[in-house]
Symmetry: D2
Subunit: 492 residues, 4 copies
């Protein structure tokens, strides 16, 4: 048996409770699948190992020399991690890193790595919580950038008139600024959800026994890993699995939001609309059709949101199971992958908006299509001539139908007056001008709100306090602490 | 044409922009489906009508007499609503309630009902927001009750030893109190999410034009309908549809949580476990097998969560669409139905826990199965005899395997001592006693944390401030205001 | 206690294994939810009751007079069914119909209704199988109609040139006929899937014991209910639940297909494309914007598919459970509702296509946008001038970029010739004409295939054998058989 | 610029229609994501390249020497493929393999690789169809093996009595053979669905123009890639995307089925049931709890099915989009990954069943729990004593309740006789014996059907004709053909 196989069998416990190595089919179905997550969580596993070894050594539970050997080894592994992962891993991270350690330090020392905790504590709690705290922080930064780009893009076009659609039918007019700031406003509110999701998973797993040593380890590790609270009861670790579901939902809401924006842009990019053009660096050619400029990036964003939705459903489905099960962990890689994609897509969407070109001339030209001024004309009849809403609505609708058919439109003052039994002050020609979009009264737009929202968003963005990444800062501190422990000895 | 058909065609706008009544297939595919939601939102539609009519009358935009006729009609419709709905509705609520009004007041007055707003404002904003604000409030109450029941059930069994499972294998011991309080603790944290979801949808839709009249109407209606803010920009109404997704997610997290609890109870109810018995009023017989006492209620809770997960996925899928689309609204009935089911199931789960019987004797008897004391024995070797973790783990695992096979277990002091090359102070007999669960050291349990958590939860529950329902209180106030307007006139 | 409550408690078995009526919360969470399915399956339940009573009487297991009383009662209930359902049902169908029977016949006779079967046999097997066999048949008819409408609509426009898009960018030209027949061809293949799904659920549940009487009942009932096979082993009833999943998938594939078509039409209906107009009877106005003609029907079709996808996911999720569970049944109503909606939407889509107007002039005008002739020009360079594909592609792409920018396009013969180091026979002006869509060579279209496919589809449709509905024909036969039994007695 | 970057920019078409290389964010969001699929489809891409080059050379469209250079290169790439993929690919496969070719052959020759097709033809049609035809074949083989293992496992236990559960409550008795053969019977029927799914995707994409050359290429390539038909119309390639959805559904049905089996086994593995033990090579230890033997494999199977369900939902969601979109392709890697996992899990489940141990003694001991003989007793009352079903059911249920409570059970003959007003021949003691499971009449089991089903399944399995893999056999033939072309030249 090779040294590597021997390490692996030792780490997997062959000869303990079980007396046979895993079958190939087991490896394929269980370890290969779970091991896919290693690229996302190995760093956190080694980080928490640092926290445990520092703590156990400090408490005198691990001999100082053994502790130093383990710390040195863990720091080295962290340095080599990208390379180790590139070589492929096909073990769950708990066993995998034990194998890595066994290959570098004596077995008797390696045997002290795994003190005071169980697998569930790591793979079901510390690791996903650290992954998602990092991911939520990154998503926060990306979302903030997207909002900032939208606000900057809106600034020169706050009053530039463009069409607005309901059900993809012309429904009136807006400005490009109002449209972009609407996205910015709604996305800005997502920052709060991301912070709340982080706060809810900022809770360390409980200690598994009430032995003095375990409690002391648990408290110190919680602090070292940057968690502000811990669960007091042991079954809290199992009875719900919100740490997988809620942060992913918070990310997914952004994914759905930017996919919705991508759906709009995709239509705006048609030759028929011709409202938006991607920067060349964000577009694709066609391998076959020489003339194409393809919005593959928009499609990737849309598809990613769809896959994310399916993955959230799968996550919630797995959470409906007996409370001590672990399906979530075996399948975590695809969850982490989707989370990473969502963050990347948010940055990408910010770049798309920043680099893309809105053809405001074309948007302006088409803003009156489809008798887009009709709601404004309706307001005129209702508020200036006191025509009951449904009467005004009916007559204007009828006029539109006649205009489309090429029929004469009867004088509105006469028709409506007859209907109401009183004279009404309606200038039909002016109403039809408005109806056709040839005249756009000020009140049809919403300019004061657009300007004030722009100012408020800019101020809000500027006022956002910088937030340090709660995970990378902890990993940095752990590395520094370990180096200090090793250094103090070496200088001693 | 019948009067009803005539009202319907008028309300549907035949003769305006369109010149034909809907086809039967259209009615089946569009109106029947959308109309399924009426039972959930008709009350809010009429409530917002009250708000609009009160406001428009107050502002002088609707003549006082017309306003009073409309208010009287709306109050009557609210009184007759259950009966109207029982008769079936197959129109979207906007048209449906216009038909109801047309059947009761002169057309010229009815024509003033619909001032200053569009369909999207109602069906995509005010109505779902009111539905979900009410639903979140009801879910909050149900969740609080569930937590209270769990805490009460835990009180007499805080120290009652029961098994704990990982992956459905015996993994140590806990107490029934710790287990029940774990559920309570985790569910208690859900209250915060429900409140946050409400805060995020507590935002009224924007006003559609910046005409003075529209703005005045919009502000007064927002206040009358109990919303603390409104969206300043018009496209904010469309560019995201979080009002459908996030509150449902907040409800669904509870659904998934109680389904997980139901999964545990379903296993506990087997003859083989025999840990839990449903009260007869919460159980089912079998129509064929006379001896059965079936956990249909648990299955209903589990299945409802699964359907809810699929419905959330569908909702998010629909939100990935061009921003001005309305799929969410056409399909809203099934969303509202699932939301209602989740709330009902939470109340039901509270009743199940309250009325069910845990067989603590049986739980105690089985708590030592599967060598459940092994983790405790491991702690003893690690912390009392300084045996490196992986060595201790290996030897104990080996001992368990031998005990199961009926083989002799070698003396642990000797085996481990030889391995470590130093004498170790291990009382093998005592370790095996612990291993088998014959002796349970205090530290294997977590009693101090159990007691303190119990006390804290009780105090937290007692300190929860009562929260008025933000929707029913508004509807009551609107009714009272309308009655006052009508009364003042009548007395005048 | 009222007579109705007494019947209900008797039917629910109070006083048997259980000794308390259901609680209100139980009724709300379990029975209300399951009872929602009654409108879809009550007819099949009564139909299978007819089959059982006819069989048990024929075999001498139920006394003839009791049998006749039951048959009369069942026929009456079938006649009154719509009315009974309109009154609301809040019991599962097994108990509900027992209550209905108890209200009409003496208890001693009613007690013989439920011979030789269990609830699972009905609610998990016969009923969903009958529902879906009927639904698959109806979906088959609707799909066939949709294909026929598409083929008919294609006939006059087989050679009418329109744009084709990839990624919503112009990608060449097709004909409206080719496009419509593509839908028809792909949907035609769905008929096979529907038939296969029916064949796979055409299997009766197993008999629960091997008693002679049970076997005899089982065989006769299977035959009477129109099933061609039965499962020989009893656990086959439980270990998979494909009867819920696969037929719904077969329906859903049509739902997704027509939603995809609706997505296209929705874009075609914009003012910017202006390719398609709904018939007025299939369109909606706006309650607020007088000028709108809204594609609510398309949105309803799209949203229904999304909800159907979520419901399929929920179904499969529920099927991942211990094999004897019944979640599928408690939640069946929403599955049946979606199935019905899909069938209705298919009929509706057929009407939309039939009544809608394609603006072929506008489609033709826009068919050359976006340098849609580029792939044709590419073929010319590759096949007529032997230019290696990637070279030709590069140069044409470059030309398009220059044309858009307003730059000069260098002579292609010169540029490419220089690059290949040999003269190439390229008429640049002609290539650019083709590129711009000003000339459309025949081979750019696909007319022979369009014509032959049209002919084949027409022939295939005409050759489709009529298929009787396998469920309604069985119900009719059972009713007739029961009437005959009753009649023979009455005449005797 | 490095040679690799230059190749990449050339392959990506920089300088053609677009004039800038992709941005980093584009690469991350689009190419990294799409490139994840390369490990699943690169072999098919190169295989179809072989087919195209062989065809174009044969037709004289590519010069023979160029053709030979390309063939040699493609064969070499196929040989090096695992190594190329291990190095990582971050381009879509169309560009990636063009880069690979550009690195090995002169640009002028490489430029001829891509004749007569577009990207959609490959990535949306040939590649997924080849992937899934291979996957369906492999799933067929795995499913057949699983059925064979179940049948073999059943053989010695056809008559071994075990409990049967409904809703996890004892519901009677079955034999282990009947149970295992039920799984085998239902899974056997899945083979048909797999074959049908293959037949439905065995259709080559249409030719994109009706030029003689294109048609000739298309027909030869279709034949060379092993497809029996091709789509005549060009939009058939787009208007539905069943090639992604239906084969995955066919695989997923197996995934759900084996997950359901895993759910049963997971409960059977508890200490409380103690019905089933995994082979050590298929089980896991715990990294912390020394005594554990964990069913991680079962959990992996269950979780994989859940993720697969979510992925199917995502797929269908993506199919609801404008018909020319490509979301499916960008996200294909996760679909292919899940498909592969399902096949692996099916093989793994076969190993689990084969290596696992059913504790038939324990199953037998527990088969009478929960008054499992009650349905048998019911049959006796109904059929031997002509007691109306509901009366018999009620009295037996009442007896069970009394027995559980420790109360006396009244004589059934007396009670029922009084109720019916006639003497009934009931031996109460015998009925109670049966009720308690102390006596099990033959008819309570289903032995004749068990034996005949066993014989039939064995015969059916033996009669299954071997089916060659439709994809690997094609790839082998293409390689051989290319080698022959090259060899004929070399020997010449």
């Amino acid at each position: 048996m090779s040294a590597r196989d021997e390490s692996r069998e030792f780490a997997e416990g062959v000869g303990g409770r079980l007396n046979a190595p895993k079958s190939e089919r087991y490896r394929r179905s269980v370890l290969d699948v779970e091991g896919r997550a290693n690229r996302y969580v190995a760093r956190y596993m080694l980080g928490s190992d640092l926290a445990y070894v520092l703590t156990a050594t400090e408490l005198g539970l691990t001999p100082p020399d053994d502790g130093r050997v383990l710390l040195r080894c863990l720091l080295d592994l962290l340095g080599d991690l990208d390379q180790l992962l590139a070589g492929g891993t096909a073990l769950d991270i708990g066993v995998q890193r034990e194998v890595w350690v066994l290959e570098r330090v004596p077995k008797a020392v390696a045997a002290r790595l795994h003190i005071g905790r169980n697998r569930g504590e790591s793979v079901r709690n510390y690791l996903p919580r650290m992954f998602f705290r990092d991911a939520l922080w990154r998503q926060y930064e990306a979302t903030r950038e997207l909002v900032a780009v939208l606000v900057a893009k809106a600034e020169p076009v706050l009053e530039t008139v463009i069409p607005v659609y309901h059900h993809l039918q012309h429904a009136g007019m807006t400005t490009l600024g109002e449209s972009l700031l609407s996205w910015a406003s709604n996305f800005y509110a997502y920052l709060e959800r991301l912070r709340e999701a982080d706060r809810r998973i900022d809770i360390a797993p409980p200690v598994m026994t009430s032995r003095r040593e375990s409690v002391a380890i648990g408290e110190a590790v919680q602090r070292r890993l940057g968690f502000s609270r811990s669960a007091p009861l042991r079954q809290q670790m199992h009875v719900t699995e919100d740490q997988f579901a809620e942060p992913f939902f918070a990310l997914l809401m952004v994914a759905v939001g930017i996919a919705r924006l991508a759906e709009d842009l995709r239509i705006y990019m048609t030759s028929e609309f011709a409202f938006f053009e991607l920067a060349d660096r964000n577009a694709s050619g066609s391998s076959h059709l020489p003339q194409k400029k393809n919005p593959f990036g928009l499609q990737a964003i849309i598809g990613s949101a769809a896959v994310g939705v399916g993955r959230l459903a799968a996550q919630l489905t797995m959470n409906i199971s007996p409370s001590e099960e672990l399906e979530s962990v075996f399948q975590a890689a695809s969850l982490y992958e989707q989370a990473d994609d969502i963050i990347a897509n948010t940055w990408f969407m910010a770049e798309i908006i920043e680099g893309g070109r809105f053809d405001t001339a074309e948007m302006g030209r088409k803003s009156g299509l489809g008798f887009a001024g009709a709601p404004t004309a309706l307001d005129m009849l209702m508020f200036d001539a006191d025509v009951p809403m449904r009467v005004a609505h009916h007559e204007l609708g009828n006029s539109v139908r006649r205009l489309i058919a090429g029929d004469d439109v009867p004088d509105l003052a006469a028709t409506i007056g007859a209907q109401l039994g009183r004279p009404v002050a309606i200038d039909t020609a002016d109403v039809l001008d408005v109806l056709r979009g040839d005249r756009v009264p000020d009140f049809a737009l919403n300019l004061p709100a657009v300007h004030s929202t722009f100012a408020r968003l800019k101020a809000d963005l500027a006022a956002l306090a910088p937030r340090p990444n709660p995970v990378t800062s902890v990993l940095d501190a752990l590395t520094a602490e370990a180096e200090a422990v090793l250094g103090s000895k070496e200088t001693a």
